[in-house]
Symmetry: C2
C-alpha cells in the first residue's frame, strides 16, 4: 500500500500553527499602518499566480509568502473574490471540466464556493426557473409568471438526495422522481417517458438534477443519454456530484463525468473528499448571466465603481447570503501543499481500501454486496431479512467502535461502509470488518 | 471616555493561540483513543452550564476547561446543536426577548444560527408562505397551491434591505414596499392603507418584514403599531434588526425593540456588532413547528433514534443548507470572556463615538445631519447638490485614509459614517473628521 500523502505532520502543524498565531497578532499590532482600501485594479490577482494547481507539493512557507505578496495587498476585497474565481478554475482544470465552465480571462462561465450542495441545487433550480419563465413568457405574452410557475416541473432520480426535493419545495415548483434502473441509475429512456407524459398533461419540464454518486449507494446517472435529451427539450441539467466529484481528479475515474459537456451547471463538495475543511462546495455554471439575471438587485449601498466591468465578479448575485467568507484560501493551501499528485494518491488510497473491505465481505458467505463498489462506499448486508440487518446495525452502532449509516435500496435495508477519514489505513478496515463479523456471529447465534 | 473592554490583549492572544494549536495537535495525536460516538443522552448539555450569560468577564482558561468537560464528551453531535440552542437562549435573555422565543426546557420557540440576515428573511418568508397556503387551502379546498401563491404578497419598508426583495424573488411571491414617513420609518397607517388596497384587489397579504435599524440611516419601524395589525390580519411579522439588534443588550436601547412580542420571528447579526466573528446571524421563532412544517424531509440516511423526541432539535429543518458548522462556540467564548457588562460597554462606546462625530458635523455650518443618530451610524452631507456630495465622497474614498459607503435618503445623496471597528477610539473620530473637513474645504475652494 502507498503511504498516505501527508502534507504536514503533527510536529510541523504545531510549528506552523504557532507561526500563524504570531502572524495574526503582528497584523493587529500593525493595523494602523495599513491602508484602509487596496490599491489594486480589478483582475490584479490572476497574473500573479500560476494558471493551474501544481502537480507536486509545495511547502507551507511558499504558500505563506504568497499570502503576504498577493493577498494582503488586495485586502479581503477584491482578493477574496479573485482568488475564488481562480481557485475554481484550478479545480475545474483538475477534473478536466469543459472550458465553457471556467471563468478564464473572458469566459462566460465560472465557479463559486457555496456552503453546501443543497444550496447549489437550490440556486441552479431558481436560475432555471427564472430563465424558463422569461422564455415561456416571451413566447406566450398572455401568461403570467404565476401561470407558468404552476406548470413548471423539475426532476431527479428516485435515488437523488433529499435536498433536491427540498429545492423544489422552496422554489414553489413540482418535483418528480425519475425511476432508476436495477443499477440505481437513471437512463435516458426513463426520463423521456416521464417528459412525454408531463408534456402531454400540459406541464413545463424545466430542470433535471442528475446525480453522480448517489447518497444511498454511489450510483451514477447516465449523463451521455440524459444530457442530449435535456438540451433538446430546453431543460436545465444540473449535476450533483457532491461526494463523487473529488474522484474525477484521477484520470481513471474521469470517465464517470463524461457528458458534463451537456450540463448547465455542476457541483461537488471538496469538503467531503478533497481535504478542504467544511464548508466548501464548488459550483460551476456555463453562463454566469443565468445567475445574475435571476438574482441581481443593486441598492446604492452595494454599488461600486467597477460593477459594470466584465472583469469583476459579484458573487453576491450567485448565492443566497450576501456576506461571504474567504474560503478559497483553504483550497489554495490544500491544492499547493498536497499537489495534484498528492490529492490523487489520497483518493486512490480510499478507493483501494473500500475494495479491501468489499473483498472481506465477499469472502464471507453470510453477507452480500448490494451495489457496485466504484469509489469509497461499500453497500452490504447479511443475506436475510431487513429485521436481521436492522439488528446488526443496532449492535454495531451501540458498540460505538465504528459508526455506520444505513439506507434502503428498493425494499432492502442496507448497511453502508464509507471510507472518509483523512487518517484511515488498512488496519482500520481489518479492525472494522473483524468487529462487524463478530457481531454478526453473535447475532446469528442468538 | 471609558476604556474599551479588552477581553484579551495581543500578548495573551499569542499565548492562548499557541495553546490552542497544541490542543488541536494533541487531539489528533490521541484520536484513536477517543470513542467514535458520544455516550451522552439528548438534553445532556443544558444542565451543565448556567442559565444565562455571566455579567462579569471570565478567563480563557475557565472557558477552555469547560470545552474539555462539556463539549468534548458530546463530540460535535449533539454538542453542536445543544450548545447552539442554549447560546441562543442566553442571547435572547441578554436582549430581553419574550420567553415565547426561547427554547428553554419545553418551549415551542427557540433560536438558531443562520449565516446571514438574508437567509433568516428567506427562511421565515418561506415558512410563512407554507403556513398561509395551508390555512387558505383549509378554508378554500378548491384552490390549488399555485392559485394561492399567485395571490400572496409580502411587505417591507421602502428603506428595507435589498435582501427582503430578494427573498420575495426566490420565494416566487409578490413583494411590495410600504412608504416610510419623514423619519424613514414605517407606521401602522401606511401598512393599513396598502393592506386595504391589496385585499380589495383580491391579494393575500401574508408576510411583513419590519426593520429595526435600516441600512441607509438606521431608522426604526414602529413595531407597536405594526405588530397588532399583522396579528389581526394573519400576517407573519418578521423583524430584521441585523445591525441594531446588538444594542438591545443595553437597557437604555431596549425600548427600540418594544413590540417584538407581536412578531413571529426576529433576527440580528452578532457578527455585525457583538464581537462574534463572521458568520453568525441569530434568528428566533415563536413556533419552531412553523419551520419544520415547511422544510422537513426525512430520508433514512438522515434519520436517528431521537428524532421524534421533543428534546432534540434538528436544525437541518431550520435552514437552507444541510451541513452545519459549530458556530455557537464563538458565542460561548465571546459572551463569557467579555461578560454582558463588557459587551454593553463596547456598544455604549460606539454610540458615544457616533455622537462625538455628529457633534463635529453639527458645529460645521457647511454640513447637515440627515437622519436621527440613534446608534453607531451618522448620515451627513454638505448642504448643497448631490453632485457636490458625490464629489466629496469620491475624494474621501480616493484618498484611502478612511472609507465611506453612501446612500440615498429620498432624493438626497448622503454620506454614511459608521462606527464599526473593534479598536476604534476618539482619536480616530477626530482624525476622520479633520480629514473630511479638509477635503470639503478643498472641494468648495475648487
Amino acid at each position: 500500500m502507498l503511504p498516505t500523502p501527508v502534507s504536514m505532520d503533527i510536529t510541523e502543524f504545531r510549528k506552523r500553527g504557532k507561526e500563524m498565531v504570531d502572524y495574526i497578532a503582528d497584523y493587529f499590532e500593525q493595523l494602523e499602518e495599513r491602508q484602509v482600501y487596496p490599491d489594486v485594479e480589478p483582475g490584479y490577482l490572476r497574473p500573479l499566480i500560476p494558471d493551474s494547481a501544481p502537480q507536486e507539493p509545495e511547502s507551507f512557507e511558499d504558500v505563506l509568502k504568497d499570502v503576504e505578496r498577493i493577498i494582503m495587498p488586495g485586502a479581503s476585497s477584491p482578493a477574496c473574490t479573485e482568488l475564488e474565481t481562480v481557485m475554481l478554475d484550478w479545480l475545474g482544470k483538475m477534473i478536466n471540466l469543459p472550458e465553457e465552465f471556467l471563468a478564464g480571462k473572458d469566459g462566460e462561465g465560472g465557479g463559486v464556493i457555496q456552503g453546501s450542495a443543497s444550496e447549489a441545487t437550490l440556486i441552479t433550480l431558481l436560475a432555471a426557473r427564472t430563465k424558463t419563465i422569461r422564455r415561456v413568457q416571451s413566447e406566450n405574452p398572455e401568461l403570467t409568471a404565476a401561470d407558468i410557475m404552476s406548470k413548471l416541473v423539475a426532476y431527479a432520480s428516485d435515488q437523488a438526495h433529499s435536498s433536491v426535493e427540498r429545492a423544489g419545495l422552496i422554489g414553489g415548483v413540482k418535483i418528480k422522481n425519475i425511476p432508476s434502473d436495477d443499477k440505481f441509475t437513471v437512463c435516458g429512456s426513463a426520463l423521456k417517458k416521464v417528459l412525454h407524459e408531463d408534456r402531454a398533461a400540459g406541464l413545463i419540464p424545466f430542470f433535471f438534477c442528475a446525480t453522480l454518486g448517489t447518497t444511498p449507494c454511489c450510483s451514477f446517472d447516465r449523463l451521455l443519454e440524459l444530457g442530449p435529451i435535456c438540451n433538446k427539450e430546453n431543460i436545465w441539467m444540473h449535476i450533483d456530484a457532491a461526494y463523487a466529484g473529488s474522484a474525477f481528479i484521477c484520470p481513471e475515474f474521469r470517465h464517470l463525468l463524461n457528458g458534463v459537456e451537456f450540463a448547465d451547471s455542476f457541483n461537488f463538495n471538496p469538503h467531503k473528499w478533497l481535504l478542504v475543511n467544511f464548508d466548501c462546495s464548488a459550483m460551476w455554471v456555463k453562463k454566469r448571466s443565468d445567475l445574475t439575471n435571476a438574482f441581481k438587485l443593486d441598492p446604492l449601498y452595494l454599488q461600486h465603481c467597477h460593477q459594470e466591468s466584465e472583469l469583476v465578479t459579484d458573487y453576491r448575485h450567485w448565492q443566497i447570503p450576501l456576506g461571504r467568507r474567504f474560503r478559497s484560501l483553504k483550497m489554495w493551501f490544500v491544492f499547493r501543499m498536497y499537489g495534484v499528485k498528492g490529492l490523487q494518491e489520497y483518493i486512490r488510497k480510499h478507493v483501494k481500501l473500500s475494495h479491501e473491505f468489499e473483498n472481506l465481505v465477499l469472502q464471507d458467505k453470510r453477507f452480500e454486496i448490494c451495489a457496485e463498489v466504484t469509489l469509497g462506499l461499500v453497500c452490504f448486508r447479511l443475506k436475510g431479512s431487513n429485521e436481521l440487518n436492522e439488528a446488526l446495525l443496532k449492535s454495531i452502532n451501540e458498540a460505538r467502535k465504528i459508526h455506520l449509516v444505513p439506507c434502503h435500496l428498493r425494499e432492502k435495508f442496507v448497511l453502508r461502509f464509507a471510507i472518509c477519514s483523512r487518517t484511515v489505513e488498512s488496519v482500520h478496515i481489518q479492525f472494522a470488518w473483524k468487529h462487524i463479523s463478530e457481531l454478526a456471529t453473535e447475532l446469528l447465534n442468538a
